[in-house]
């Protein structure tokens, strides 16, 4: 429970008046006055350090309660992603704990879509019976990219003997994972602080930058460095950049090839570094040399001189510079050429020789934990499933540790799934081609949804189990990798709001026991955390009170060359895996799958700075922000709108084979004329989530379920929509 209770200081006791909204008597003023929106006094204020759950970053968060109720939140000073700040999403998502729309008890579907309350025992026994009945290979478990209590969920599936564990990797980071594992074998992170030249590529897809990054970008410019945003849409952080270079969507690869070609043709790359650390550079150079700034200009619409200028700017600043690779962004799952785009980002940075350099790309050290850390008498070894996951092996370049949730949906359509467990995952709202996904989910024999809210997917489930929110529970020890990597822990901030809710790990343990798999879960959460703490060399008590602890031996030393865990042990400028995976061994131009013309425009998307997927709309504070600022509008470039006779504020219909939606238009200079932008957060169809219901249009109604043949990545932005003014 929250520690370090402190009562308000005597300062605040002065000049108080009676009443509900009591506050400061103006300092030094005689007489009693009470003030609107005052905090009151004589309250018990408590503090807990925990982690945010607004997105997958899990920033460290300090939380204050007043008389046991949530009050205010700040980022943890020592958390490398937060540096004392939370983003708006983290600040506002906290409102879900007290939402009146929360699920409070297990619910059972009568088969007609009517839910009635049942006991946990009844629900767990019934669910376990259905799981045991089913062939393990016909059972699947889905989580979203936050993957709450993944140790438990994955272990449960392994114990069950099913490989069908899915997160939404193919819709987010598949190509980044593919690229990093094949080309580098070690994970990079930007070191903005101390950089002299940063190219922010693709920030618009994931506007919610890590809070610390905002400050770092400002500092780069204050120190005379340059920040260039290359993006089809001007993101919010673009306000801090020197300039925005508007690239044709889907042609980011051409920009990168042009920059690399320019570096090669003008001998502007770090020869010593690539020779010492790369393999296949000759073949690489031969292929890439043919792409120069002029060629790239034709493809991207960026002036040739600008491409050359950026290449030369990077080269001049090298090695204290980098081209950013945005996780959860377009480059990880956006286009037909995303796998190639990611590879080029990696290799361009390698050409700049910025690895483990100040202001370049650094390779943070993480703690090494293997099976030996786990006492087998407590953590019974679980083994691995004998069969592959549904969808595995279809895409030769796919990152081997991430299963393909889209393939699972396609298989469900063929009747391949008897049981599906959705833990905080809402495919009906978050997976492409919403209408088809709904049909496919319908074909799954038995469905269980574990969530805090009655999501669209929950409404189709046989059982809905109420989950506690992140503010009411302890989590599993994790890490935040950075130049100084820290261990992190989610700690409870408030008492459980609804007594009948349970955290994910608890539900898994109950299910496992009912399935006869209890032996694999005979440890407590504390034992698991103690084990991680011992392996990391940190104190569990420190994590409980501080939310984070530096991991000894995980401080980065600048100047060291990272150990490349690739096949060759080097940076693979020419990569055999890519060749066998259906691509060329060295980078080459790949045309995007669709092209815009006239009223048929490329539909692009991306998280708004105050939302994440659709789940943040359950927070009334974040939902109200969206409503107040009409964040559900579809963006269209000024020039394109003029051409189509569309004015700001008009309502348009966006349609294609997948579906059609209506939205109000925001005419803006902030987007490439080939594209229309629709945010992925709105169009909630579950009236049980009142904050979100009925606001905005669904982006996923328009997106095709498709995959990059080589990596299986979702190609979320290879979608055309017809734009028609309603009533014209």
């Amino acid at each position: 429970m929250p520690s370090s209770a402190l009562t308000r200081r005597s300062f605040f006791a002065a000049g108080a008046a009676a009443g509900a909204a009591v506050a400061f008597g103006g300092v030094g003023v005689g007489g009693r006055r009470s003030e609107a929106f005052a905090w009151g006094e004589d309250h018990v204020v408590e503090y807990a350090a925990t982690t945010c759950d607004g997105c997958g970053n899990k920033c460290g968060m300090g939380a204050w309660t007043q008389d046991g109720a949530l009050w205010r939140f700040m980022g943890l000073e020592d958390h490398p992603f937060a540096h004392g700040h939370l983003c708006v999403r983290g600040l506002g998502y906290t409102a879900v704990a007290y939402s009146e729309d929360r699920l409070t008890t297990p619910l059972k579907n009568d088969g007609q879509g009517n839910f009635s309350a049942v006991s946990w025992d009844e629900a767990i026994v019934d669910i376990a019976a259905r799981i045991k009945e089913a062939e393990p290979s016909r059972v699947a478990l889905f989580q979203d990219s936050r993957a709450t209590d993944q140790y438990y969920t994955q272990r449960f599936m392994n114990a069950l003997g099913s490989a069908n564990y899915y997160t939404d990797t193919v819709l987010t980071d598949m190509d980044i994972l593919t690229g990093i594992t094949n080309i580098l074998g070690v994970f990079p992170a930007p070191h903005a602080e101390g950089s002299k030249y940063i190219v922010l590529l693709d920030k618009s897809y994931y506007e919610g930058v890590r809070p610390a990054e905002t400050e770092e970008v400002i500092r780069v410019r204050e120190n005379g460095g340059k920040v260039v945003v290359v993006d089809p849409r001007l993101p919010s952080i673009g306000a801090l950049a020197d300039e925005w270079v508007c690239v044709r969507p889907g042609f980011e690869l051409a920009f990168l090839l042009g920059v690399m070609g320019h570096l090669l043709n003008n001998d502007l790359y770090d020869k010593a570094f690539v020779e010492a650390n790369g393999t296949g550079f000759e073949a690489f150079a031969e292929s890439v040399r043919s792409y120069d700034a002029a060629w790239a200009s034709g493809k991207t619409g960026i002036p040739e001189a600008k491409i050359a200028e950026i290449a030369e700017g990077l080269a001049a600043a090298a090695p204290h510079c980098y081209v950013d690779m945005q996780w959860a962004g377009t480059v990880g799952s956006g286009y037909r050429n995303s796998a190639e785009t990611v590879r080029c980002i990696i290799l361009l940075n390698a050409m700049l020789g910025n690895f483990n350099q100040e202001g370049g790309w650094v390779f943070p050290l993480g703690p090494w934990v293997d099976d030996s850390a786990f006492d087998p008498t407590v953590f019974k070894p679980v083994g691995y499933p004998q069969s592959y996951a549904i969808g595995a092996g279809v895409h030769p370049l796919a990152y081997m540790y991430a299963n393909d949730c889209q393939a699972a949906m396609a298989a469900a359509a063929e009747g391949a799934l008897d049981v599906a467990l959705f833990f905080g995952s809402n495919p009906l709202a978050d997976y492409p081609q919403a209408a088809m996904t709904a049909q496919d989910v319908e074909k799954i024999g038995f469905k269980v949804v574990v969530d805090s809210f009655m999501t669209e997917t929950a409404k189709t489930a046989d059982y809905v189990l109420p989950e506690t929110t992140y503010l009411e529970r302890r989590g599993i020890v994790g890490t935040a990798t950075a130049p100084a990597t820290v261990a992190t822990l989610r700690n409870p901030v408030i008492d459980q709001v609804h007594p009948e809710t349970k955290p994910t790990y608890r539900i898994i343990v109950d299910l496992a026991e009912a399935c006869g798999l209890g032996e694999y879960f005979s440890f407590t959460l504390d034992q698991l955390n103690e084990t991680y703490c011992a392996a990391y060399g940190v104190s569990y008590d420190a994590l409980k009170s501080d939310g984070l602890a530096p991991i000894p031996g995980c401080e980065l030393e600048f100047g060291n060359v990272p150990a490349f865990a690739t096949k060759s042990g080097k940076i693979e400028f020419a990569c055999e895996a890519y060749a066998t995976g259906g691509m060329s061994a060295v980078p080459a131009w790949i045309e995007p799958a669709v092209s815009a013309s006239g009223e048929s425009l490329r539909l692009i998307t991306g998280d708004q700075v105050f939302q994440s997927k659709t789940y943040t709309m359950a927070s009334d504070k974040l939902a109200q922000l969206a409503k107040d600022f009409e964040a559900d509008r579809v963006w269209m470039a000024t020039s394109r709108a003029a051409e189509l006779g569309i004015e700001d504020g008009d309502v348009v219909e966006l349609s294609n084979d997948s579906g059609s939606v209506q939205a109000k238009v925001r005419v803006t200079g902030r987007i490439h004329p080939d594209a229309v932008y629709l945010p992925p957060h709105y169009g909630c169809e579950s009236e049980e989530i009142r904050a979100a219901f009925g606001f905005g249009a669904s982006h996923k109604a328009l997106v095709t379920r498709q995959a990059e043949p080589e990596s299986g990545s979702g190609m979320l932005q290879e979608v055309l929509v017809n734009v028609k003014k309603v009533g014209a």
């Binding site: 200081r9 008046a17 009443g19 909204a21 400061f24 103006g26 300092v27 030094g28 003023v29 006055r33 009470s34 003030e35 609107a36 929106f37 005052a38 905090w39 503090y47 300090g62 204050w64 009050w71 205010r72 939140f73 700040m74 980022g75 700040h85 939370l86 983003c87 708006v88 600040l91 906290t94 409102a95 809070p211 610390a212 905002t214 400050e215 400002i218 001007l234 919010s236 306000a239 801090l240 925005w244 508007c246 700075v609 105050f610 009334d620 504070k621 974040l622 939902a623 109200q624 922000l625 107040d628 600022f629 470039a637 000024t638 020039s639 803006t668 200079g669 902030r670 004329p673 904050a691």
Partner: protein
């Protein structure tokens, strides 16, 4: 006595709304009551487009029109120059809302009392972990301090950046903008 004011550097603002939510949390406001508003301006045309976000709130005017029209004198200026509302005097007539040139006042629909920013961040140094528009901003957009103290950071920064009130000398506002 001090004369407190704020500096808002819009050249650092990314329009993320974190200040609004932080303020709502700190001050126990419901989702639909916000003391901070945002004005977004898009300037230029492609390929040269800039976006400027200007957050506004109570400007703590020295010539406060809200105070002038308040029939119950619920609105007052304290000796530190902070324009305040005595919530136990407010009848909710909304005359102050009509008078405020910045639309900075809102009705708290729970009580009918009109509210606004009261520079709560003044107390941030006194209390740990204040989550105010100032402390929560990841971009360091805001600065708070004594305008009468020539040595204060805010006074120096106003001079350095030639920061100006949003509407010139309209109401002698104490929020200065870098734009």
């Amino acid at each position: 006595m001090a004369r407190y004011g704020m500096l808002i550097d819009t050249t650092r603002c990314i329009g993320c709304y974190a200040c609004r939510i932080a303020c709502q949390n700190q001050n126990h406001l419901p989702a639909d009551v916000s003391l901070i508003d945002f004005h977004e301006f898009e300037r230029g045309a492609q390929p040269c487009v800039r976006v400027e976000t200007v957050p506004t709130q109570c400007m703590h005017c020295e010539d406060a029109p809200c105070q002038a029209v308040c029939p119950t004198a619920a609105t007052y200026t304290d000796p530190d120059g902070i324009v305040r509302i005595d919530s136990e005097k407010c009848i909710g007539c909304k005359y102050c809302m009509a008078a405020c040139p910045y639309q900075a006042r809102v009705v708290d629909h729970r009580t009918g009392v009109v509210g606004k920013c009261r520079f709560c961040t003044l107390y941030a140094p006194l209390e740990e972990g204040m989550s105010t528009c100032l402390t929560a901003c990841p971009a360091g957009v805001r600065m708070f301090g004594d305008l009468d103290d020539p040595e204060s950071d805010i006074s120096k920064r106003i001079v350095e950046t030639n920061a100006q009130p949003i509407a010139g000398d309209l109401t002698k506002s104490k929020i200065y903008y870098v734009r």
